[in-house]
Symmetry: D2
Subunit: 336 residues, 4 copies
């Protein structure tokens, strides 16, 4: 079979990483790059002299020499671009968050299904060794029944002009949470504050799951220190993922709570166990490379990626709910 | 003037620290210790052979040889004990949280005022070198206008049987927040979950202040790691207090956001400053000792402590609001 | 059998810990305390009103009511005090370092043997959960063949007036090294410098063992930061002990070097393995309490402690060798 | 003036960084690249299609179109290559360590002087923000009189087949030490051990300076953890440089020793000061880029770089002394 021909739209902050990894894979053809900004195109041409570049989205979208489009642009453009790609029979790889509204996401999912095309949403973290290891541990029951998920993703900005800290940073945590908890979220509460340009620059999300499983996400563009830490509590063991650690990113604590009932539920004895700590070796392969290889595999094999439009839609629904909650200072917003 | 004679009620977890520091001060008389538990009294007598111990609260409360009572018992007993002490003309030092309800706190404050007696609520952290330094920095404007306060107090519990993690751990953070922000809190949102005995064991509080100042408090009895960290963001500088650091508990970051308006508010340019970091030397004196000395001073001088009944009441009001919010999964609860 | 009656000489920095733990054990009688300093005796009497105190060493040494003497005084007094105790038929527990010279240590060992009395040298660290765990791991071969031992014990001093940083801090590391390596040290090289009072305040010791096993000890009274870290490298696994960590004091790294010979020894291929990290739970019992209990057991059972005079002598020999090496800027000093 | 034309010899581990930065500078011409390995040349051509590559050193050395040669090859080749470059009238930029022997270094220095050519030894660390800041602090007397320099550079190797850990890692520390202490080293003591291929894989260097200033360097290829820490003690302040810290690489501690003489030198009172800690902002520019720009400046301006052949020679002399000391288990080797 001939190589899949990929066109890339957008060569700003993240686009160069997409192009670099597509080239590095060596298993697809990078057929064209489109950007409205001449400086971006020039920069790309310096590194990849043979790459066809254009400032015309229409040219790329209608080109018969392109099988799949990677959309690496601001979120407000995702819907129109993805729609054009799908309508022209091209598979879509799209940055997170998937779309600006759940309704857009649903329309794209429906369109892709009708055309039998793949959508993959770039939830890159799901392809890191750390998240794969966490999912593996949870799946094999190493933590026992899940109790909570608590994540902090904070540092001194980059302020986005068009989106809040919730749409900028929380999609990472929501996608990871969705991937490892694997339950249907029930409701969202979001609190936060805006200090500079009307967009929230600090926010706290709570996501309710069945069986008292609780997720909490702390995102902040105004922190003097960088923190990338997720705690996952289980009945049998507990886990801390510190993504800033070079070597021991994940630590599994043989710690937990033992509840013994003396005389019925009204007389519970709660005690603690504290045992060894274990830092499993985590795969260090570049996540984006693995994700793009998987995208090509899904196209070639006609299989649905796990980080498909539905996964993207679940995240967008939670972002929308968070916005509604934020607007009313923490009102509980149920998820349909 | 003769020494103030202090009676102590309660010799469980915290009581021994109160007694030890009262003795260490050497400026008051430890007149009596009361506990219902004979083993506790025996333990005390071993260390302080000359200390008068009793299992009768009534005896201690009515003793003419006692000027002030330190109440170091579970929160549900505070109201009755403090009321008895005040009615018998004794000053009151009482553990945090002050009372189980705001209404109780108001009644005690009114009673103390009528009797011209002092109430001090044991918000010990306000007497640490770290919190004193933070207050000093904020007061002299070192951080600029405050933006947010974000605190995490998590570890593998001691589960309390009678209170939730909110009433157990959050009073520390609420008292500190109240002390350093010095504005009237407007509303509380609390989310959380209970996994073992019906009491929340993990909770997240958001407290709204005027001018978009936001406080957030993360309390958790189910964390495998111990965290005691508070971030305070200001317009000019930002501060991190890590109470687990032996030496550099407070770091002040010369970091911040610079907003320049190019053409009106619709075109803000947000940029970042990043300069030196500074860890001021922090006083290492034992906080409880300083607090008890201050209690004796307030009694002797007839002055009102800053951590008085009103300060305790403000914390209890926020705890009550948090409970109401928790019960409705994060409903916004305005503070009167 | 009646309880062993212990007399304690010295109530300065460490003496109070000895007395407190002897009381806490509850299995011996603290028969007398001797100190030349009236303030020290008064301090002791405040805490232990029933304790017999005296400023006469002779009284304590000749008292028929004392079976064993704990010597908690400066090193230059150890020999005379221990000799007096042994000559009066009393067992000896003595602070590290054992004596000022190897010759003194040999004389005491010979005297104790003749009188059938026990000598225990207070190498407290050997009774910590961390060192016990390290020894256990090495003994069961978990690290494979040992390659090196590298320890740093640095902080902003307490300067001793009578000894150098080598005699003050290195005995800890030398005793631990001796306990876990369990080989006969061959030679010592010490370098260092003195900046204030003629005694070395910073020093680096290298101790050579058979089979290319190398130990290195970094002691420093002039460091702005406190470090208590020991690395132990083995052929199969490597270990880091950070004594300042509250919880994960010991980490075992499944890392190592794999050497494969392609064509004879002249063509070695060296590659690396890197696997999981594991922090075994470590016993948190107070080491000194366990050590004193062991001292009483050894007396009662007539058994020789592993931290006996011979163990103390091995450390003193290395300290003497270090002094000789230091005096000649790092000359190699063989151990007899 | 026309651009300086640089030829590069060696495109292994470090060569690509040299070439990348020469291109990035944009102020010189990268005239040719030479490597014996066809795969290396092919790799270079993929990234720089217009770069002239050759496997003939002679071609590059004799080319009239080349003004300066960067030698990025194993140390045992440095002398022959640098000599050929100088003899052909080309300036030399050469990897550390400068040469295999001091005698070679002297010969090259003499040759360059005779030909009026520049030699720069690639002591990259001297161009980092951290080292520049340390030098600046020392030069302006912020630390007071220097007491010691103690550096650890340890991790799980890359074993070099042709050199020991001393020649591989210690040149960094020796060059930094030489740059910031700015005194003539007097003697070297080195201890260490070899476990795999006959080359020392763990070593400890002590370098003696006048006035009791002591330097110590700990290099280790067999450590499970990576450490890059340097302590510098001064009479007034002390400094810790942790190169693995992302943000606060340098911390200055307002800590020190105060010595007061009560009655003559025999009765010194030593006490401690402990004040604030300060982490100055450190320039984050890529060091190698700044160094190469400086190389071009020195050629253009005819000025002698501070990291010239003499600086390289001082390091090589200490490496030779370390080897001699190692061979005799720590014998003191005076520096001429």
């Amino acid at each position: 079979m001939s190589q899949i021909r990929v066109g890339v739209v957008g060569y700003g902050y993240w686009g160069p990483n997409i192009v670099r990894n597509l080239y590095a894979l060596g298993t697809c053809e990078v057929a064209a790059l489109c950007d409205k900004n001449p400086a971006a195109l020039q920069k790309a041409r310096r590194v990849y002299p043979s790459l066809h570049v254009t400032d015309s989205v229409a040219e790329l979208m209608t080109s018969p020499g392109i099988d799949a489009v990677a959309i690496v642009t601001p979120v407000w453009t995702h819907f129109e671009l993805a729609k054009a790609a799908l309508e022209n029979g091209k598979h879509v790889f799209v940055e997170k968050p998937f779309t600006s509204t759940a309704q857009q996401a649903e329309e794209l999912i429906e369109l892709a299904a009708r055309k039998n095309l793949r959508i993959m949403v770039d939830h890159t973290f799901l392809f890191t060794g750390a998240v794969k290891k966490i999912r593996e541990l949870i799946d094999k029951g190493a933590l026992g029944r899940l109790l909570y998920f608590d994540s902090a993703r904070i540092n001194l900005g980059l302020f986005q002009h068009d989106v809040s800290v919730v749409w900028d940073l929380a999609p990472h945590d929501l996608a990871i949470m969705d991937y490892v908890i694997r339950e249907k979220a029930e409701a969202v509460v979001a609190t936060g504050s805006s200090h500079f340009n009307g967009q929230a620059d600090i926010a706290f999300l709570t996501v309710y799951f069945p069986n008292n499983v609780l997720a909490h996400i702390n995102v902040n563009w105004l922190s003097p220190v960088k923190v990338r830490t997720t705690l996952i509590g289980g009945r049998d063991k507990m886990l801390v993922w510190n993504d800033l650690e070079a070597d021991e990113k994940i630590k599994v604590y043989d710690k937990g709570v033992t509840v013994t009932s003396k005389e019925g539920v009204y007389d519970l004895l709660v005690s603690y166990r504290s045992g060894d700590v274990w830092a499993p070796r985590v795969d260090q392969t570049e996540a984006l490379k693995a994700e793009l290889a998987y995208f090509l595999d899904c196209i070639a094999g006609g299989t649905t990626p796990f980080n498909d439009g539905e996964a993207g839609l679940r995240v967008v629904r939670m972002l929308e709910a968070a916005d509604r909650s934020l607007a009313e200072r923490g009102k509980v917003v149920p998820l349909a």
